[in-house]
Symmetry: C2
Subunit: 450 residues, 2 copies
């Protein structure tokens, strides 16, 4: 008796990315990499598995519950799967002291979090991170925001805002309304809900947290203030002049806003937002996240300065700042708004070389090799099927061009080239096939990449 | 008291890939992807974590001991980390029946095996796989070998041989020398050592396995035969004419050799080798691996046909064939033989824009943005340091060009461009900087990518 079949399936919250979706991912990741490298960020790869002790105590107790652990049969080490890319970068920065500083790196890699699976949220997902280690200059934070702007702008995003705040301001606000440092967490959580539950909801939550009506009024006036970035910072500076921690945060944001202008990031692309908090424990200074108005999908980037994280691994700590770009959500938005360019199709294949009979098969193989060596993605039809079936295969896959090579063509050193969607076809000398294809592709409206 | 520092280190057998090494990896992987796509292979991504039951019973008992397992605090599923890319592909092929066939896919991704760490062998390493699912045509196997040839040839490999054999021939050889099917494993293991322990060593091992002197002589005559690929296959065909299984394998290799010629793979690049076995259990037909003579490093690719693996997941099995390219070993060889082109340097950064003083800083930021938007990798120096220190930083990192923008340049809308290695420098209008850089780069012998 044959052994029972194993049902083919994936773990909860995990998924396969099939070619059509992968072609889109690669388009986005290639563009990100181009932008990252244009800013001088260097590629880095860290192992998926870290020692458990490397990850513990970095993310906060709630986040820590979501970490995956790993082991093998004979192993004695306690291993954990990467939860983000910032902690591994911090470990790297502490471990290789000789890396020139600032160390600017990017990494695009999966991370694992055992969150409850839901639409658009997966337990294995990619983060695309850029970080600058070893500089406390606000130019570094401005550069990170500039990277976000360039990536989104070049992907075709027009309606997005990078929200900008500073943990020093948030801490200062706590002092301003009389919340002691150890209760700041509750204050942050309430503030963070402004978008979801509105000003009245936040007020209620703050009341139940024990804040006075007067303190809440003072706080809400700041959180709901409207104006240009410079106006908002000026107002905060005036109101918080007795709170040096908050003022230091204001000064940092002023520097960032100044630099963003010179870096060519338009004022409309970012917004100082005192109610934006960011979840993770390790931020210490400027924080930034990007939101889009349509579709409603949450933030598509998130990051900030974490000057104390590397110090958990070494006595010589280093300042650091950076962001994560959420490629899954970015692709969801681009899909929903139809933002992918027409040449990002269902297949990488540009040409299907058909086969006719045994006698002409070697010529078909040769033509396929000629096209491939010219850099044209070419599939050779492998089975001994009728031409009609071969054409249906090309149509089903979305391959734009067909090359037909029967006995007549083979005898005359020719091939027949057909554009499937346009129904055009022409018989040309084999030596001219590549140039003819390029000519057709650039003349056509079909946007094939050739 | 501050909490104790966590020592920054990685798990046994794992490693970080720092930028200088990553730049080389990306060069190799980009080229592989180009070749894979030129053959019409589509990208696929599968999760790192698979259900344990998906991996069990696929690799053989020895291999299975090396698998890593994973879990999270609240999880009930039994999870395992990817051991190779062929079993996940088989699961995918069984799970998405609608994928057009043949399904040609590539995947470049890490896998985990808890082998004893040693020089050049890691517990997390990348596999770069191309596979064709759903075709039993030998054209598919020839195409896989053709991909191997194109990748290695374009990477600059000149001294390599793709060894070619067939599991059907190996099984037939067993019958030929009187080894029953259930003892074939021992026969394979002995044969596989021919390169390592020589003909005498293999003979001894076969003797101790219980084979007769006469059977061993018959076997060794075939294993050590010399000649062209066609001669070797003709000799085998003559000797094994009473063993239909072996003859089917010979016919398959004859077809492959025929197709390889038409596909433009030179005869010198592959070698029919009856002593080549391949370790994994799941191969059923042609098998191929690539060896280089210098340096001695083992095989740099390995693969073959596995027509029965997908049938473990579904009643409608599918034939499949493919190969894995070992990027770690390929890079080791290229490093050792100095095969990387000169533009693959220590850094992605092409230009360092220096900063002079607060007054000229905005102009420096603007110039950096202009260069970046022109696609030139540009780092902006972030700290307020003396020019000498900024130059030393560029030299240390291996950045080829420097842009200097002091008060004189800023006042005249100019910049000074310096090539660090050549010591040349010129002051040009800011609007001409990009074209001047491209001109210098194409004129120079330095091979910078611009």
């Amino acid at each position: 008796m044959a052994p029972a079949k194993v049902q083919p399936r994936v773990p909860r919250g995990m998924r396969d990315i099939l070619p059509e979706q992968m072609i889109k991912r690669q388009y986005v990741m290639d563009l990100m990499r181009q932008v990252f490298e244009s800013f001088g960020f260097e590629p880095l790869q860290t192992p998926v598995l870290e020692l458990k002790e490397t990850l513990m105590g970095k993310y906060g107790p709630e986040a820590e519950k979501l970490i995956y652990y790993a082991q093998h049969v004979q192993g004695s080490e306690e291993l954990a799967m990467r939860y983000d890319l910032s902690v591994p970068l911090s470990r790297v920065s502490a471990m290789y002291r000789d890396l020139p500083k600032p160390f600017k790196r990017y990494q695009m890699a999966p991370v694992w979090r055992a969150e409850r699976p839901q639409k658009g949220r997966y337990r294995e997902f990619y983060q695309c991170d850029v970080d600058i280690v070893g500089s406390d200059s606000m130019l570094a934070d401005a550069e990170i925001m500039s990277v976000i702007y360039e990536v989104l702008n070049r992907l075709g995003f027009r309606q997005f805002r990078i929200l900008l705040n500073n943990r020093k301001i948030l801490t200062g606000l706590g002092s301003y309304v009389g919340v002691p440092d150890e209760q700041l967490g509750g204050l942050y959580r309430a503030i963070d809900k402004l978008d979801k539950i509105g000003a009245e909801g936040v007020k209620e939550e703050l009341l139940s947290n024990g804040l006075s009506h007067e303190a809440i009024a003072r706080l809400m006036a700041l959180l709901t203030a409207r104006g240009s970035n410079r106006e908002l910072l000026a107002e905060l500076r005036a109101r918080l002049q007795d709170y040096p921690r908050a003022l230091a945060g204001v000064a940092e944001l002023e520097e960032i806003v100044e630099a963003l202008g010179a870096l060519g990031v338009p004022e409309s692309a970012y917004q100082v937002t005192f109610s934006m908090v960011r979840g993770l424990d390790y931020y210490t200074g400027p924080i930034y996240e990007t939101v889009v108005d349509e579709p409603k999908i949450g933030s598509i980037t998130g990051g900030g300065r974490y000057d104390e994280l590397i110090g958990l691994f070494t006595n010589q700590g280093l300042p650091a700042t950076g962001t994560s770009l959420g490629i899954e959500r970015i692709i969801d938005v681009m899909d929903e708004l139809g933002m992918f360019p027409p040449q990002i199709g269902r297949t990488v294949v540009q040409v299907l070389v058909t086969r006719f009979d045994v006698a002409s098969l070697p010529a078909s193989l040769q033509v396929a090799t000629e096209l491939r060596r010219a850099g044209i993605s070419t599939e050779l039809y492998m089975e001994d099927d009728a031409l009609g079936k071969q054409i249906r295969y090309a149509v089903r896959k979305g391959v734009p061009y067909l090359v037909i090579l029967g006995p007549d063509e083979a005898a005359n050193d020719q091939v027949t080239l057909r554009h499937l969607a346009r129904g055009e076809q022409e018989t040309v000398a084999r030596a001219e096939l590549v140039s003819k294809l390029r000519q057709w592709a650039s003349a056509g409206q079909t946007g094939e990449l050739l």
